[in-house]
Symmetry: C2
Subunit: 361 residues, 2 copies
């Protein structure tokens, strides 16, 4: 009887949704297999393909014909996700996920990547994007002055822009995605002070770009210092801010060695960026793993040091979802002229060695 | 030009997905409005209905005709979600969400609720469910011996069963949803020990049902004690376990007053169940809010005491998703005969005053 019902569904009309339910995967995964895009395991792919062969599934022809006319083109401007910027691999995954979904809506994506340490590479990409005259832009506004000028030019051309990972004060944009940086700094300080001995010192580490500090990293630092100043007078905790240029030779070891020598009571380190792993590596080399270390983002290197206990807490903001939602927001605006909420906050998730295996990114 | 494209999409073929994208809501929300089910705000409902009227959307007739033949009936057996068991409102939300989605698959849900403090009400519902001869069962196995016997009878009849919130050792079930209770207790102890002064005492509180202790609560306690025993010898932390029957008059105050008098150095309390709020209420009445309090689940009462700082950490397991996934797993099995993973672990999320507003439940 069960097989009859199965058969009945199949002969009526098979949808991507049916294949997905049957395979126990998302519709997005089925779509990836149908369009031969990567990131699906061979086992899952085989299962889905055999389910499709057994069914009478045919792609949506209406959507196909639609896709051949005047497509919307979204330009995405984000940093390269390499060894020095491992964070950016994560939103890119979500952007790719969105790209697959919005093709039904006659919308395509072009990705422009720049070197996060190079103001000129950023400018080069901005100029290219302006020339290409896209329908909309998703932008990581790393160099704020140039990004603000770029936004003005987009405004003049009537091109909507969604910001990702950081806001631009006083600029005109459609929507901005990111964490409430001040509150995430506040949470980091709360965790730090919860664990630290009274009378200790904390190091607030800015692993800065040579060419200016990114706005949301400053906000994290401000939230962190603000909590320490207001909420822990009884604990007598002092805080010292240190800026290290990771591109300089011998860093961060040289600056950290100096700071530790000057202030041997440092019991906690807070790293405002996603590069806590380089501090963890240093701490292990100096046998200082007992220092509390708190940082941001589930990069591969950070995961490793969280799991072995050198990093105590990582704060995560689901960057994959940020990438996905930035594209979907722009698509909704382009296709249906729907205005989104201006600021869209991401989660401030606390990840530890004990819960990382159960965390749903 | 934009409006032309909009129009083109509309005249081709309008799907629930299009309406959802246009309205900026999930397809589930559109479905709720289409089928006149609750839990959608009036503003959203109006927006969706006007979008539908402007479009040429017509419901899927194939799915409709299918729905009239031999429906699958899933029986759900869970506790009442009242004042003493506020937790159970949460998985029920996910079960309702699933119920709306699976109607396309010719599957309906009947919910049987029992009194968590009454073994006989549990037995009454079990008997009713067996009599009704459902296609499948979702069960919260609160009274473990009765639940084990019930599972045997379901097995004899060939009725598959999915467990929710707790496992049943040595029983035969299709799949079980819940947190890794041992590891969540471990995490709670890690947080507690991170914050507590060396030489203090911790109270491990079991707010027990009069009729036996629920399996996963014991596992949380075991994980908690295990961490304290192994990982913190240097901190010299002692732990005392106390069981309080909340249905007894004057509790929990009577037992807590006694424990505090006997052991004035108690600096932390861990509550294994979702009822940390009753301990928070007690602590406020005795001006003991400086004691570290860690508990489980984002019930309304717990949220209140987390926000005002009396509860320090709540551990959450996304019970809404547990409810949803238990139904979807059973539906996949019934409709497509797909065997699920036997144990499906939920997240072990850490919620504080600082990140609760950004938490996606």
């Amino acid at each position: 009887m069960v097989l009859q019902v199965h058969h009945r569904i199949v002969t009526h009309r098979i949808r991507i949704k049916d294949i997905a339910l049957q395979a126990g995967v998302s519709t997005g995964t089925v779509d990836r297999v149908l369009h031969n895009r990567g990131e699906v395991s061979q086992a899952t792919r085989d299962k889905i393909l055999s389910l499709i062969q057994e069914s009478d599934y045919t792609p949506n022809l209406a959507a196909k014909s639609l896709a051949n006319r005047n497509p919307y083109r979204i330009a995405v401007l984000i940093p390269e996700g390499d060894v020095t910027n491992p964070y950016w691999k994560m939103p890119l995954r979500g952007i790719r996920r969105a790209a697959r979904e919005i093709r039904d809506y006659n919308t395509g994506i072009e990705i422009y990547r720049f070197d996060m340490d190079s103001r000129s590479s950023f400018q080069t990409r901005l100029t290219e994007v302006l020339k290409s005259n896209p329908a909309g832009v998703v932008l990581a506004p790393v160099f704020q002055d140039q990004a603000a000028e770029f936004l003005k030019q987009l405004n003049d051309k009537g091109i909507p822009c969604v910001l990702i990972d950081s806001r631009l004060r006083k600029s005109n944009y459609l929507s901005a995605f990111g964490q409430d940086a001040l509150k995430s700094g506040f949470l980091a300080a709360r965790l730090m002070c919860f664990g630290i001995r009274p009378g200790s010192s904390i190091l607030l580490l800015k692993l800065a770009r040579p060419d200016g500090i990114i706005h949301h990293l400053s906000r994290r630092a401000k939230g962190f210092s603000g909590y320490i100043g207001k909420c822990t007078p009884s604990k007598d905790i002092s805080i010292r801010t240190l800026t290290i240029d990771l591109t300089a030779p011998g860093e961060p070891a040289a600056s950290l060695d100096k700071a530790m020598a000057e202030q041997p009571d440092i019991a906690g380190i807070f790293v405002t960026s996603s590069r806590a792993s380089v501090v963890a590596e240093y701490m292990e080399s100096r046998n200082k793993s007992e220092i509390i270390l708190i940082g941001y983002d589930l990069t591969e290197a950070n995961r490793k040091y969280l799991k072995n206990g050198t990093i105590d807490f990582l704060i995560s903001q689901k960057p994959d979802d940020q990438g996905y939602n930035s594209i979907m927001t722009l698509c909704r605006y382009l296709v249906f002229k729907l205005l989104p909420v201006r600021i869209q906050y991401s989660p401030i998730d606390i990840i530890t060695k004990e819960n990382i295996d159960f965390y749903q990114t």
